[in-house]
Amino acid sequence: MTKRLVQGNEAVLLGAVKAGATFFAGYPISPSSEILAQASVYAAHHPEFRFLQEEDEIASANAILGGSLAGAKSFTATSGPGFSLMQEAIGYGHKVGIPCVIVNVMRVGPGTGMPTMPGQGDLNQARYGSTGDYTSIVFYPSTVAECYEYAIHSFNAAEESRSPVILLSDAFLGHLNEVTDLDAIDLPVVPRTLEPLASGGTRLFSGVATYPDGEPATADSDEFIRQYNETRNHSLGVAERYAFYEYGWNKESKTLVIAFGITRRIAQPLAAHFALFRPIRIWPTLDEELTEIAARYKEIVVIEGSDGQYANVVERMLLRRVERVPLLGGRMSIEAIREGLDAIGMLPAEPAPSGSESPAGSRAGRAG
């Protein structure tokens, strides 16, 4: 039990190891590369932990599918452009039912964009990036300690849902160093749920629509819908057990601020003026929880590192107007937030007292 400085990306790796991960495949990309580098160091000292630096992110994502099928809890880490390249494999993982974890340390896109600047523009891609319909479970922590915690939750949810789970981070959070005692965090670890390859059966793991015996079901709509509903309902049921969020700050305010990931930390100086809702499980959305909480507030404003990706979701969920403070081009600062609030006439009359950030002050909660 020792407190020490830990970096967000390092905490993700340590959480993965704690969750029982034994295979990492990846490709270097800012701002996620520390996870790759530290996984290689960990593998050098722990032969049971397999590490493969791949030729690209397509190979990385497909390799963790293979590694997971072979029996290892498997993960990769990347950022926007690499995350785009992984989308086909993520969809395959959903179709086949393969537990694995993809860490996306978000930067500013599209394209190569701003490789070292923080962004939050991959929310929709984390939900809808692959072809077809599927049910994504996605978490987004806010502190270094949470990077560790939600890495463990991600592996657990992946095992339970038998699907690829996305752990979001960002360039600020990934490179943030905080004093924390990770040993003091005690979370249960879900054992493997998928029987490994060559267990004596003759299973066919196929991305093609197939019947249980492996014959193609590529023109059987009823069979497709039966399998789709079964998978969807299973994943939604699992997600219910991971309904993590934070609700706090000044609950007497008339305005609810919604912020997540690093943005919630940046908005901390506004604590005296607004109530806060921070979704940690980004997908599936926390409809029941947010609907109940939002009903108490006259105004809602979403502060996020994209041009309204989550605000659109909230507006559609609540069927009411939602104000937006988009933090674009990596300009994620309290000054940018104040400017954004001012532009929509919501800047608090008196400047909030500065400092006094205490991320552990309001505890992350869980529904139910």
Partner: protein
């Protein structure tokens, strides 16, 4: 055990067209697997998208039917996590040499102890007969009506960029040499690649002037000749095996030494 125990014969007939060469490869692969004692508890098949990819569904093994082009990352990861397993990739030429070409380059470089059996029919058969990476220059296809514009990929040259790899070229007509090539490939300690020329009568052969699958087989018989013993390089239409310097397998449990 018998060869037929390696096959899910209850799913026969297969979806492959009459006259297709893939079944001839499956038969020899099953024969070799039987000879070497490969079974569902020690072997995994990894197949790619294309007609060839269906082979995994017809064999009595656990198999992964990957995304198009992604057999090698999946196979290499399986081998890394479970080095005691035999991992055999069965892929078409379009899958492994075009959309999966970058993985081929780099898997070869890393020399994993896996075997690739490539059904090389010089065409994208499943999608109807478009030019593929192995289509000979000048061949008329439905995406190159005036003849394919470019030279085909040199698979032997690509595989032999790894001085420790194994490359064999054979055809579905030459059943004995094909069996030998597959067997030695599975026993090879490192990356091995069996390049099997195979006919697609429906979506290639008739268009380029063959009347039947048998005519294509007879063409293999007359066109392909065994390379002289000791050859270190195969000329076009030569059958043979080119072996690099075998490296000891780091995990001590290679494809050929698992049992």
């Amino acid at each position: 055990m018998a060869v037929k125990d390696k096959l899910k014969t209850d799913l026969f007939p297969t979806i492959w067209c009459p006259g297709c060469g893939i079944g001839l490869i499956m038969q020899q692969l099953a024969t070799v697997m039987d000879e070497l004692g490969l079974d569902k508890s020690n072997t995994v098949l990894v197949t790619g998208i294309g007609c060839t990819g269906r082979m995994g569904a017809y064999m009595n093994f656990e198999s992964v039917y990957t995304l198009h082009g992604r057999t090698l990352p999946v196979a290499e990861a399986i081998k890394m996590v479970r080095p005691e397993l035999h991992v055999i990739v069965v892929s078409g030429d379009g899958d492994i040499a075009s959309i999966g070409g970058n993985h081929l380059l780099h898997s070869i470089r890393r020399n994993p102890n896996i075997t690739v059996v490539c059904n090389n029919n010089e065409i994208y058969g499943l999608t109807g007969g478009q030019t593929g990476p192995t289509t000979p220059k000048g061949t008329a296809t439905i995406s190159s009506p005036a003849g394919a514009s470019y030279s085909p990929i040199n698979l032997q040259g690509v595989v032999n960029t790894n001085p420790n790899a194994y490359y064999a070229r054979t055809t579905v007509y030459h059943q004995g040499p094909m069996r030998k090539a597959i067997k030695e490939a599975i026993e090879w300690p490192g990356f091995s690649f069996v390049d099997v020329a195979s006919q697609c009568i429906e979506n290639n052969g008739r268009r380029i002037g063959f009347a039947s699958a048998n005519d294509m087989l007879q063409n293999y018989r007359t066109e392909y000749k065994a390379a002289p013993p000791g050859s270190t390089h195969l000329e076009p239409h030569q059958l043979g095996i080119v072996k690099g310097e075998p490296l000891p397998v780091a995990d001590g449990s290679g494809n050929g030494s698992g049992e």
